[in-house]
Structure formats: structure tokens, C-alpha cells
Symmetry: C2
Subunit: 299 residues, 2 copies
Amino acid sequence: MKTVIGIDLGGTNVRVAKVTEQGEVLQELKSPSYGMEGPEKVVSNIISLIEQLDGYKDCVGIGIGVPGPVDTVNKVMKLSSNLNGFTDFPMAAKIEEATGIPTFLDNDANCAGLAEAIIGAGKLFPIVYYTTISTGIGGALIVNGKLVSGKNGYAGEVGNLIVDPYRDPFNNLNPGASESEASGRALIRKGQAVFGEKVQSAKDVFDLYEQGDEEAIKLVDQMTTDLAIMFSHVALVTDPHIFVLGGGVMKSKAVWMPKMIEKFKSFVHPGMREVIFTEAECSEPGIMGAAMLPISNGL
Amino acid sequence: MKTVIGIDLGGTNVRVAKVTEQGEVLQELKSPSYGMEGPEKVVSNIISLIEQLDGYKDCVGIGIGVPGPVDTVNKVMKLSSNLNGFTDFPMAAKIEEATGIPTFLDNDANCAGLAEAIIGAGKLFPIVYYTTISTGIGGALIVNGKLVSGKNGYAGEVGNLIVDPYRDPFNNLNPGASESEASGRALIRKGQAVFGEKVQSAKDVFDLYEQGDEEAIKLVDQMTTDLAIMFSHVALVTDPHIFVLGGGVMKSKAVWMPKMIEKFKSFVHPGMREVIFTEAECSEPGIMGAAMLPISNGL
């Protein structure tokens, strides 16, 4: 059976796993990523972790998921806020050179989407749009098992989609960007503006909603409209077979998702209203998706 | 040299051409389409036109462009307002059966986009987003020379993208849909509301703009903002290498396109601002794109 190496590189930790092409983890190693100590240190650490995997030389490919947009043709990050000095650094080339194994690089949200498209909730669907609604909002387009990452890895930057151009901008995003209006962090900001420090999480707002609090109902109502508009943008551009949704805000899906889907239907053509919205399934989408990168690239 | 048959089927006319894989038209026939006389009549007419092409049996494939969304897997139209009775009618299967040549079907805007991606302005670019700004607004996503038509052929329905949710809805589109706000027809509607019957075309508004008319300046200014937001939606979902723009409103591109591109840059991440916007090049994108369908499908 074919095996691959998946690497989930974050600002704090890095995980390296040997995985079968069906997505079974055979061995997994974890270490600090040394993300702020420069790319040479990060990469030499990753190479030593790879070399600790049993029979690593038998793996057909290596995939790396990183926190930021990636130029997948040149295999470099185009923006790296959590990994010092990684913009345009040839990490994949260096790992490929050291190990002799073809190495691929993509954004971590794209990797999670790829995992869902190949072995998760989107399996068997030709066009999968993955969206994570968590502190932020990100996405990934997967067509026939291959990521469409975009020219500079910005395909899937759905958190910056404008849902209402008249609202205030936050965090260098557009005015009325979906992430500023409907992410977990947005719900906390809006909840605290109404309820003060009583709100510490998105769940607190959903709890107030379920208790029938009128202000919380308004907030959740606005959030479902904003998400519906965001998903209509994605649908009208890509018409996917399935939307796979991940991220922390999905824990409260029973509260907001049915309303959001109803509103979504009003924003798309009648023939598009039966698209499936479903929850992500993979337990470790980051590392699993990274492992799927070589497979998706034909290895 | 490989040859293919391209068919451009409209409500009024149908054109059938034998084309080389490089896009050279060898022979072209035109006839009424009999679009309102039912699918059997339309199809038997098309088959007789095909049989009039010299050496049609040597062609490796047939592609048909139709006015409406298409389920490209089952090769049927999903909505047909200009062709009576074509929804779910197995036109491609019937033509394939009669001719013995593999037959493919797609939306006409998708075909135009495919032509631009394979032999036109988008040639050599991995991700091409084609947009036509004319009476209406439509689009097409082409990844590595293949159309991403969507589950029901609605990928590219960018005319229904919301650019401002607070405006009035028109023609069964969303409130603030780009087509209702920034198409040629929209500009005529808005121009007539200000200037009356003096405005008969989008060009009339652009002419007033160039004469320095303040009301016309406001209208064009709003149009460029609306188009910039629409294109930001597309870019944040697909991050294309190039936007190829066609349609009648491009005749006045010198007036509005540079301003639109400047505004677009403000609505996307810094790393996305250098995407190319260029004009469509194909002289007959409809029939050429239909002819490219079999090539794009691997024939």
C-alpha cells in the first residue's frame, strides 16, 4: 500500500505523520515548530522528524500544510505572520533535496478542505467547497480531488468577501467582510458590545439566543444572513455539489445552520437550492490533508 | 490534424462549424434554430447540418453551446427560456447516437470562456476567469483548460452576486445583484431615470461622462464600484491568474476599466492586486468554445 508523509506546520508546533493513501495514520511525531527562530531551524527540525519515521524512504510523497497563502507552483509561502522569514523561503525544495522525496506545499485551510474532499464528508463529490468558521473564516475549492489554490494561494479567502459594504472594516479586512461579521470572533465582539464581559465565547451568544434573549436573537439572525450571503457568493461562482463546514462555530450548528440554509436558498437561483451543506468529518484534517497533497498531485 | 465540430445553438439561429484543434474554422453552416418548435425538430435540423460538413465523420468530437445552465455530467439543459422544451431533453445523446461522435454540452458563456482560455486572451494561464458584461453579466471558471461548470451549470452566475444588499431587486435577481447594477441594461435603466429617453444605450451614458456631466460621473462611479466588488467576490473565491472580459460594455472600457481595477485592488489582499484584467480576443467565442469542449474533455 502506498504511504505518504503529512506535515502540519504551525507557529507553535509541528506534527509529522506517515499515512496510508486511505488516510490511516501509521506513525505520528510532534515537536515545537520553532516558528519564530527562522526557516533554517524549522526545516532542519522537520527533516530530523521525517528521518525518525519508520521506513520514511518508502513514502511516495511529502505534503506540508502551512498557516498562510502559498504559491503552489513555486512551492513557497506568500505571506507568513506566524512563521518568521518564511515568505518566499524554499522550504519544500529543501525538504525534497534532503529526503529525495517529492514535496508539496499548501495552505492549512486548503489542506483541511482537501482531506474532507478525498477521505471526509465530501468524498465522491466532484466539486467540494470547504469552509471553516472559527476565530476566522477560510475556505478551499476542490475540483475532482484537486485543490484550486489560485495564483497566489488566495482562492478560498472567503473571510474577506463583502456581505455588506456599509459596515466598518476590522483587521485590515474589507468593510463588511464575512470574517468580521460572522466568525466566532465577530460574534464575541458583537456580543460583548451588547452584553459586556458576560460574553466570553460565541457559545455564550448562542446560549442567550436559546434562552430567548431578544438582543441575542438579533445577533444570530444577522449572522445567519451574513453567512447566507457569503455562501451565495461562493455558490454563484463555483456551484459546488457540497459545502463541507468545519471550525468551532459548527459546535452550535443546530442553532444557526438551518436558518442560514433557508436564507441561502433565497440568494441563489432555484436550480441551486438543493446543494448539500454538511459538517466536516475528519478528526485531523490538517495533517491528513497535507498527506493527501502528493496523492492529489498524481503520486 | 485533429478536427472537431462546434455548434452554437441560440433561440433564433444555429451555427455548425468544422474547426481544427487550433481554432481554425474549416467550414461553417448557419440556419434558423427552430428554437420554439420543440427539441425533436431542433435536433434533426442540427444533425442534417452536421451531415452537410465535408468529412464530418473524421471529427473526434462535437461540442454544443446552449443559452442556459447545463448539467454537464448528464449533458442536459437545466433551464431553457429561449429553447422550448429543452430542460432535461437528451440532445447530446441523440446527436451522439445519430453521428457516432462523442458529444458534449455546455452553457454559451462557459463556451466563450473556454475559447478564451484555450485559444484566446487567457491562453497559457492556469486559472482563467471569463466575464461577459453586456445586456446581462455572466462568467466562466476555467482551470487548466477545463471548465468548472458546477453541479448544475450555475458556476459563473456572477450576474446574481450581491454587491449591495440594500438596493432593489430586478428580474428575479438578488437585491443589488451585479447584473442589475452594472450591466449594460442597468446603465441604460439608471441613465434613463436621470436623463430620460436621451439615453438609449450604455454608450450614451459613457458619452455624457466624457462630456463631464456630473450625474453621469456619479452613475459610472457607482458602476465601477459595483463591478469592483463583484470581481473581488470572484477573486477571493478562485484567485485567478487572469480575468478575461468580453461583452458590449467593453467597447467603452477606456472610460471605466482603469477606475474599476483601482477599486478592485482596494477590495482584495495586497498579494492579489497584480492579477491581470484583459479584453477577450476571440472573434467567434461561442462557436469556437463549443468546438473546444471535446478537446477540453480529453479527446
